[in-house]
Amino acid sequence: MDRFAAELAALAVPAAAAGPRERPGVPRQHILLADRPDGTVVRNGGVVVKAHARDSDHAALSVRIRIAAAGPLDGILLAPLAVTAPEGALTTLLRGRPVSAWPHGQPVDPERPEAAPWEDAARLLARLHRVPAAVLPGPVPPMRGPAKVARALSRMAAAGPHPQAAVVLAAAARLPAWARGEAPAPQSAVLCHGDLHLGQLVRHPAPDGPWLLIDVDDLGLGSPAWDLARPAAWYAGGVLGPEVWERFLAAYRRAGGPAAGPEGADPWPELDVAARALTVQTAALALAKAHAEDRGLDDVEQLMVQSCARIGTLPPDLDRGTAS
């Protein structure tokens, strides 16, 4: 483990002391869970410490983490631990990167995505979307979904020429400017996760506590359709079977989620823009990663590029004036 990760792991000690179920003591074996520019994550016993992106908006991140700690999010978002000392601050800095600490939770088994808790995810999102923004610590920043579309397109461009990049760009051109992060998003008072996928769910307390959402880096006010848009894009592209999609959608609606219209209605007028945006984001990142790893696209990545090809060639009368 490199020095940065070791220093990060050391920060788990005061966090562990602060946690209600942890005692201070000799740190156990550190495990590096992720090491990317946008998040280095180390587990040390029952504590997970995360160094966030160097270029993250520190003030906004601090609000996001305080929201995760706030009472109205209890049972929806995993609550952070104090990272500096018992009763201490929720964030600190390590070599210029903001750091937060969290109790360890049991993630979804990546070997068994078919056994993923789709209904739990849907219910948690429905509850999240119904939390009144007025009761939250603030100022609540915007949800970062559209910014991530922009970042994915930049990564694709920076990776160098790819024969299928034009297909992704043509689909991106059919998005409204706000969905590409190029204009302010429509006003919203709905709290959104901003980056839902199956890695964003844990059981806490591990191994069999209730499911909770994690990773608040993109949390904020925005279009709640964004949180349904990744599964929607997977379904529309043929990655996710219709039965799984319908289970997810039905559970969300039954729990009172506001993003997809009432039960029985066609959800796509509500979901279309966000699902296209996530299709573009996923395909752009797939091209960037394939380029960096000097490999071809795998079959599900191909499906997302094929979705882009269909989006880019939609007849204009099916576009509902969404392009800009």
């Binding site: 946008d38 795998d298 009368d317």
Partner: protein, 92 residues
């Protein structure tokens, strides 16, 4: 009239006295009350071809206009699919 599935314009055609709405975008066909029966009756006059199944009140398997074709009956969780499938479902 707008298509309830994809919101493109619907065009009205008259076939043997039966009014049929067809979407200019997704080509979906919508029939009003009693029109299916009228068509079935006429078809019965041609021969022994069984009548088509009744169209659902709403297009089955709602999907966007740009959705993958032949969405149903995919082997989504086939073994060849598994690695990329898992990777995509777990990553930002």
């Amino acid at each position: 009239m707008q298509c309830p599935k994809c919101h493109a314009m619907m065009h009205t055609y008259n076939r043997s006295g039966v009014q049929i709405e067809q979407c200019s975008g997704c080509r979906g066909i919508f029939l009003d009350y009693g029109e299916l029966e009228a068509l079935t009756r006429m078809e019965g006059q041609y021969g022994q071809v069984p009548p088509p199944p009744a169209p659902p009140a709403y297009p089955a398997g709602q999907a966007p206009a740009w959705g993958a074709p032949q969405h149903h009956g995919h082997g989504h969780h086939g073994h060849g699919h598994q690695r990329g499938f898992g990777r995509m479902l777990f990553s930002s």
